[in-house]
Every structure is written in C-alpha cells, then in structure tokens.
C-alpha cells in the first residue's frame, strides 16, 4: 500500500473523533523478503506483508491506546473504541496531549528507491549465495557459514491527528549478513559481516565477506588474559552500541522521571573535550534517517554534547510540554506502542586519525572487537556497566594476540570523561547510531 492510502485510513479514523477528545492514528504497512542460504542451497525463502494500526485517545486529561495487526475496516472502529475505553482507567495528567504542527518543515530525504522493487527473487538468492561463497573462499580456516542472508523491506506509514498533524512517507532498505565459523585444531571462533543499503546495487558483498572472515579467523588462538586496567579501542560496531545506551540517558523522559544520571547536569562538562554527540535523522547517510518522528513532527538535528558539554535533552510532545521546552522531533515508536523519546540517528563528530594511527599510539591496550550481555550488564540509571568482550591485544602500537572470556567495566559517567580520542572512520550501521573507533582510558578488563 502507498503512503496516500495509509494516510486516508488514518484520516478516516481521526474523523470519528468526538467533541472533547483528541485522536491520533498511526498506520503502517511493509513488504519483506528474506533469503537464507546454507551450503550452496536455499535454506529458507520468506515473503511477507504485514500491516497494523495504533490508535491513541486523550480525553479528560487521560490517555488510552489500542493496536491491531490488520487494516481490516471492521477492526478499525473496534480498535478506536478499545482505546477510548482504556483512556477511562488512566490517571489524569495536564501535560497529556498530541503533537501540534510547529511549523518546522520536514527535510527532503530520498529514502525510497524503485530499484529495489525491480530486483527479482533470483537475483536476491544469487546475492546470498555469492556472499556465502565469498566467506568460504576467504580463508582455508573458514569451516562453515552458519547463515548467509539477504533481506529487504519496503515500508510505508502515515500519521493523522485531530490536532492537525498529517504525515506520511515510505522507504526501502536491504541488507546482507553472514555469520562465519573458523576452526583450527579443536577450537572454533565466530565472526560476522554485513552490508546495508536502500537498494541492492549499493550492497558490498566483498566487504561483508571480508569482515566475517577476518573477525572469525583473527580470534583463533584466543586466550584469557589476566585482570588489569587498560586503554581500550572500541570497534565502530561496539561504539555504536554504547552510544545507543548513552543516548537513552539523554531522553527527556528519563530526565523527568528521575532516571537519568545526567538530569541536573545541563551546561556541565560531562565528557572529554573531544566528544561532540549529535542526533540527526535528517542526515540521508543514516540508515535510520527519517523526515518525520513518531508523532508526525519534522525531524531535526539536535546536538546533545558539544565539546563534552551537555547541551540539551531530547523531547517528544509530552516531555517537551512538561519540562517547559518543546518537542525536539524525537518521538520514537512503532504502531503497536505509544510514543517514547529516543535517539533516531546518533553519531559522534569524527576525529582526524584512522584506527591504525590510533592503535599505533597505544603501548598497552585492547582492541575490543565485540561485546556481549549489554542488556544485562549495563544499568543506564546508575551508569554501572560490565559487559563480556573479545578482541585483540595492542602491544607497542601493534595488534597482537587475540583474547577472549574477558569483561570490560567502568561507569558511563567515567567512560565519557575518559575518552581519549574519536577516530575518523565514521560509518553508518543498521541501527540508530553510527559507528566510529573510540579510544577510552582506564577501563577495567577482568580475566583470569
């Protein structure tokens, strides 16, 4: 379905509004294909269409919500009355209210590429097979490819409200991903590689394969090192995961509800001088770029940290209103939930030196290639973090032996202040933050 059809459905729902109530309808539709190959054969090929609607009602200062995984006309009215009924049981809050048009023009982004629609199923299968083959051929120690996938999606969505919001859009995306197994003697190590784009011709099979091969093979022979405090270089993929967590602490919702460790720190130097952090979904390079936020307001570029100084928090309509500010266009949600507040395309402003030069300046350190257990090991409220990690030792400015079964720990507060340098290798990843190599001092590495 195209955005215009979806907007029509959203407008129809909003048209059912009664006096004294606000209604917001969010409607989405997507078509997806996913191919997984294994040992030269197609393991699975999935084709799917999905759609859904979410309806928010605010009446008498109370909020209710309901959603349904269909756009069946019979279901829409029932979903609205369910949302209405739910609103009866909420607590009144004077700051509840839908977004209102704020005059900010949405950025012109080119997120929909017809070339994806013309790319046939056979070609998709061939890409996945080509990826698997490239990983296998990459190194004699690669003994298997656990999965090699091609996937794509064409999505469209629309939002309408009784307060005058009308927004709709569509985008295309595709990806390649491979998980590799490398083996030597009794030992097995794993690696992954991926490539993402708006249409298949921008996917890079060779690069995805090379990453999957290198990540797995360079871990062969890994040992558990002793515990010590070291300087770490975070791989771009790892940095992006940490940025996502730090971004969460800068949400206006966390601040208002007393869950942000930076709540009273506006204007303070909370990070090293080299840290400038920007959330910019208007950047077309970002995989998660978008012209409108989850409430239908235009997205905008928000600088959060400037030279290490805390400059602002992010807001949706509710948190903006309640904190006496305005929405920063940072409502995030799917159709099945009410809008939260979050980063949409977060990145550090890159530095001048590539990773090799960063490493060359470190006498004793660790290149952290991957982390695990982030969901259980990072507490974004207290700031304590401790995650499983693997990577390579850095000795006298050069990459040395692989290490595994370690954790790295610090606090988010200290880590930001202990940033030594940001690399020049900014890269957009299939997540809401960008990767870049990051050097952090004084991290505890626990091992034997």
């Amino acid at each position: 379905m195209n955005p215009e059809e979806l907007l029509e459905i959203a407008e129809r729902i909003v048209g059912w509004g009664r006096g004294g109530e606000q209604i917001e309808a969010v409607v989405g539709h997507s078509s997806e294909t996913e191919v997984r190959v294994y040992e030269g054969d197609i393991e699975s090929l999935s084709v799917a269409e999905s759609q859904g609607v979410g309806i928010r009602v605010i009446a008498d200062g109370r909020q209710g919500f309901a959603h349904a995984g269909t756009l069946d006309p019979d279901v829409l009215e029932g979903t609205l009355s369910e949302a209405r009924d739910n609103a009866v049981f909420g607590s009144p809050d004077e700051f509840f209210g839908l977004a209102e048009p704020d005059g900010v023009a949405p950025p012109q982004l080119d997120l929909y590429n017809e070339a994806l629609l013309e790319f046939g199923t056979e070609a998709k299968i061939d890409l996945a097979l080509e990826l698997e083959q490239a990983v296998r051929a990459g190194d004699p120690r690669i003994v298997g490819v656990e999965s090699a996938d091609y996937g794509d999606a064409v999505g469209a969505d629309a939002i309408a409200t009784t307060t005058g919001i009308r927004s709709s859009g569509r985008d295309t995306s595709c990806f390649l991903t491979a998980y590799s197994l490398a083996s030597e003697g009794d030992e097995t190590q794993t690696g992954f590689g991926f490539s993402v784009g708006r249409e298949p011709s921008t996917l890079n099979v060779a690069e995805a394969a090379a990453d999957a091969v290198e990540r797995a093979t360079r871990m062969l022979g890994a040992v558990q090192p002793p515990t010590e405090r070291v300087t770490v270089v975070l791989d771009p993929f790892v940095t992006a995961q940490f940025l996502g967590i730090i971004g969460g602490t800068l949400s206006g919702e966390a601040v208002l509800k007393g869950r942000s460790l930076f709540a009273d720190r506006l204007g303070d130097q909370v990070a090293a001088a080299g840290v400038t952090l920007v959330d910019d979904p208007t950047n077309p390079e970002a995989f998660t770029a978008s012209d409108a936020d989850g409430e239908g307001l235009a997205t905008r570029r928000n600088r959060l940290l400037d030279g290490g100084r805390l400059e602002r928090f992010l807001h949706n309509s509710y948190t903006g209103r309640r904190s006496g500010a305005a929405s920063t266009g940072s409502a995030v949600r799917g159709y099945a939930s009410t809008p939260g507040v979050g980063c949409q395309a977060l990145s550090l402003v890159p530095g001048d030196r590539p990773p090799a030069e960063l490493i060359a300046g470190i006498a004793n350190g660790v290149l952290v290639q991957g982390v695990s257990g982030l969901h259980s090991g990072v507490n974004p409220v207290s700031g304590d973090f401790s995650t499983g990690a693997e990577g390579l030792r850095i000795r006298n400015g050069e990459l040395a032996e692989p290490i595994r079964e370690i954790t790295i720990a610090s606090t988010l507060q200290r880590m930001l202040l202990d940033v030594v340098e940001v690399g020049s290798d900014l890269t957009w990843l299939p997540m809401s933050s960008a990767g870049v190599s990051l050097v952090v001092a004084e991290v505890t590495m626990s091992g034997a």
Partner: protein, 463 residues
C-alpha cells in the same frame, strides 16, 4: 478459529506445485497491559493480531509466507507464495487426511484475564506503587506493569496433523529507583505464569514491590564488584539462566547441525559433575515456558539433556528431527505467525542436589554469592557466555558479606559445567524470562538449587 475444510484446501494449494511437506500455522493473539510510572497510571493498552504462516518444504529448502488475511482466498494466496518460494520441483505428494489430536493442557486456567475488569487490574498498580514507596524514603521512582496475553493457535500439516492450543499468560513487574550518596540504583522483581488472573491469589503485589524496592535500597550501600576469577555460589532459582546460556542453547539441534555448538558430537560423554541432571520440560504445570503443543503441533514433553553428568540428547524441532529420522522433542517454537519455527527451550532446570545450601556457602572462603540474576547471552560455537548479577554479595570467610554493584559474569559453558562442585537440596524455579534467538523472543522458565562453580570471571571494577 478456522474451518477444517479451509485448512485442507490451503494445504492442497501449498502442495500443488510439488512440495514435499506443507504446514499451516494460525494464530490469534490478544493482549492487554497497564503501566503505572511516576505515580500515575500512564496508559492501558490493548492489542489484537491474527494471521497465518504457511511453509512448504522441498528438499533442503523451506518456502514461507504469512498473511493477516484469514479468508480462504487470503490463505490460498499465501500458500501459493510459500510454494513459489520453495521453488517446487520436488517429488510432490498429496496431503494426508487431517486427524485432530489435542494434547492435554499442562494445567487449567481458572480466571481468563479478559473476564477481569480493567479497574481491578489497575488497582494492583496503585498498591504496588504505595508499597514500594513505603519501603524506604530513598525510593525515588517506581514503575509497575501488569500484562496479560492469550494466544490461540492451530497447526495443521500434510502428514495429517491437526492440533490446537489456547495459551494464557499473566505477568506483573515492579521496577524501583533509589537515590543515595552514591547516586542512583535500581531494583526489579517480576512474576509470571501461563495462567490467568489467579496469579494474584498466589502473589501479593505489595510483597513483590517491597522486594524490588529492597533490591534498589540494598545496592545503595553496595561496593564495586571485584574483578577476576573466583568461586561463585548461585542462590536457589537464580542459576537457571546460567544453564540456559552455558549449555541449553548449545544443545539445540539446529545449531548442532550447523557445527555451531561446542557440544556437537558429545552425546554419551561425561560433560559435568555426576550429580548434574539437566532437564527441559515443556509440560511443567504453571511454569512460564509450558504449553500443551509446540508451534509445530507436537505435544510438549520432558526431555532429559544431561543425566548423571552425561550428555544424553539434544532438543529437536520437526525439520531437524526428520532429517535424522526421529521424532521432534516438542521444542519447535516461534514468536508469532510471522516467523519460522526453530529449536527453542521451554523450562530448563537443573535437578535438585543433596547438600545443605548453608554448608555450600560456609565452605566458600572467598567468592561471590549471586541471589538474583539478570539476563545472559552465549556464543554457542565457542561456548563463551555472560550473565548479569542484579543482586549479589561478597562471600568472606564462608559468610555472605556486603552487597556488590551490578556487573556481568563471564564463563565458558563446558568449563563451567565441569566446574560445578556443589549442588544444594533447595531447588526452586526462577523468574519468568524471554529468550531471544535469531531475532525471535519466546517465554521460557528456568530453575536450580543453590550451587557453587569452582571459578568464574567476575566483571567488576574493584581489585
């Protein structure tokens, strides 16, 4: 949910271009939740999704399509899409006549959540908020969530299988923030069972809220966790996540078949202390991972994975089992009709030991006692896994000492299994969990008695 004749027609359509196996999975899911945060009932949410996933197998290839259109025409369209995706050309066959066999439910559901007034559900939230705030003046924020769900499924396949299940789940969670001189700390507690509103006959929300609050308050006085390797004692009910990660995932036949498990080719070997017996049991009444049938229509069963320390078997879904010419072990699960099933755990637990738990702690000179665990993650190919400790204490001279701040533990599955040196006689199940694999989340349970592992690496910041 859907007419038997429509199911039969859909299977025929799916096999028309030469499929060897076809399956229709129909799901109707309704959910409701209520959230209190910052002293206010922020919202009530209701959701409804319905649809069917159809797969067709030809040789090594599975074609899959799903649709939210459950009309005969909608299903036929999805069946043709799945068949086209499977690329036909197989031997071709006709679907066997359907024979409905329903497995017994692991337990009865007494009070369907949809029959309970919304006001009654909301009232629980206010009670939890009051109780948590009353636990100490340092409690600065509370959120409480009530959630229920009902998932009705119907599975039919070309072997003639036809089975259904009606799965109800109810859950309650409280999360608190405490503020002190050392900053903010958090505490969390949740309960859940595959039952209805009778959950609250068993659990008082006030008590759950106090537990969550006390966890946050205790941590205000916590010191940084140590770093490095030392003995770890895990409290009753707490250690299930450890086994889920340390070896559960590595015993899933799909990962084993792809050489992505450190436990491949090890059936029959002694992998743990002779007292270690590990079981995955989807039939456990009232436990979070229980069901009557899995998402391929196979009745849940009790599978012994490690017995007397010897690895006895892996867990299986339908396709992996067929290749081996054996039966599925009832572990084929999927997040929703929009997903392909794969091998998943249900309720995974370590059977009771014989030692007095007090004696296990007393025999530990210096180490860490983990009372409550967070989530975990494993790399099945290397066996390396982590899990979080959300409530933990130092052990000094055989006694539980001061609390320590949050952090992860890291270990290697086969090494930790071999390093279990004491098992208590105080078995308990742990908190309800959601297990993630390949992007799909499913509810799982776990349990253990008190146990001690000779050495694991604690990921703290203190020396």
């Amino acid at each position: 949910m859907i007419d038997e004749s429509v199911v039969t027609g859909t299977l025929s359509e799916a096999l028309r271009t030469g499929g060897e196996f076809a399956e229709v999975f129909v799901e109707d899911r309704q959910s409701s939740s209520a959230l209190l945060d910052d002293g206010k009932v922020e919202e009530l949410t209701s959701g409804r999704t319905r649809g069917a996933g159809i797969r067709v197998v030809v040789g090594e290839t599975t074609g899959f399509a799903h649709t939210s259109d459950l009309s005969e025409a909608g299903l036929a369209k999805a069946a043709r899409a799945a068949a086209a995706a499977a690329r036909g050309g197989g031997g071709g066959r006709k679907a066997a006549a359907l024979d409905r066999v329903d497995a017994p439910a692991p337990h009865q559901v007494e009070v369907l959540p949809e029959t309970v007034a919304k006001a009654t559900k909301v009232e629980l939230l206010g009670r939890a908020d009051d109780a948590a705030r009353a636990a100490g003046s340092a409690i600065s924020q509370v959120s409480a969530r009530y959630a229920d769900g009902r998932r009705r499924i119907l599975v039919a396949n070309s072997d003639g299988l036809l089975a259904g299940d009606d799965q109800v789940r109810t859950r309650f969670a409280v999360s608190c923030v405490a503020v002190g001189d050392t900053g903010m700390q958090t505490g969390f507690e949740s309960v859940g069972r595959p039952i209805g509103f009778e959950l609250f006959d068993e659990y008082e929300v006030d008590a759950l809220a106090r537990t969550a609050a006390n966890r946050a308050l205790t941590k205000l006085a916590a010191q940084p966790a140590p770093s490095g390797s030392m003995p770890v004692v895990i409290g009753p009910g707490g250690g299930g996540v450890l086994f889920h990660e340390a070896c559960g995932h590595g015993l899933e036949a799909d990962l084993v078949a792809k050489q992505a498990s450190v436990f491949r080719n090890r059936v029959g070997e002694q992998v743990a202390h002779p007292e270690v017996t590990l079981i995955d049991d989807g039939t456990m009444a009232r436990e979070w991972g229980a069901y009557a049938i899995d998402d391929e229509g196979r009745p849940a069963q009790r599978n012994v994975l490690i017995e007397g320390g010897v690895l006895t078997d892996y867990m299986w879904d339908l396709l992996r089992a067929r290749k081996q010419g054996r039966e599925s072990s009832g572990n084929g699960r999927r997040q929703s009709y929009q997903h392909l099933p794969m091998v998943r755990m249900t309720n995974t637990y370590l059977a009771n030991g014989t030692e007095d738990p007090e004696a296990i702690i007393a025999a530990t000179d210096r180490g860490v006692y983990v009372a409550h665990l967070g989530g975990g993650q494993v790399n099945t190919a290397t066996g390396d896994f982590v899990f979080g400790m959300s409530e933990a204490y130092l052990i000094v001279n055989g006694q539980i000492d001061s609390p320590i701040r949050e952090g992860n533990l890291i270990g290697n599955g086969p090494e930790v299994l071999a390093g279990i040196e004491a098992l208590g006689n105080d078995f308990a199940m742990g908190s309800p969990g959601t297990c993630g694999k390949d992007g799909q989340g499913v509810p799982v349970g776990d349990g253990t008695p008190t146990l001690r592992v000779a050495s694991m690496t604690i990921g703290g910041t203190a020396a």
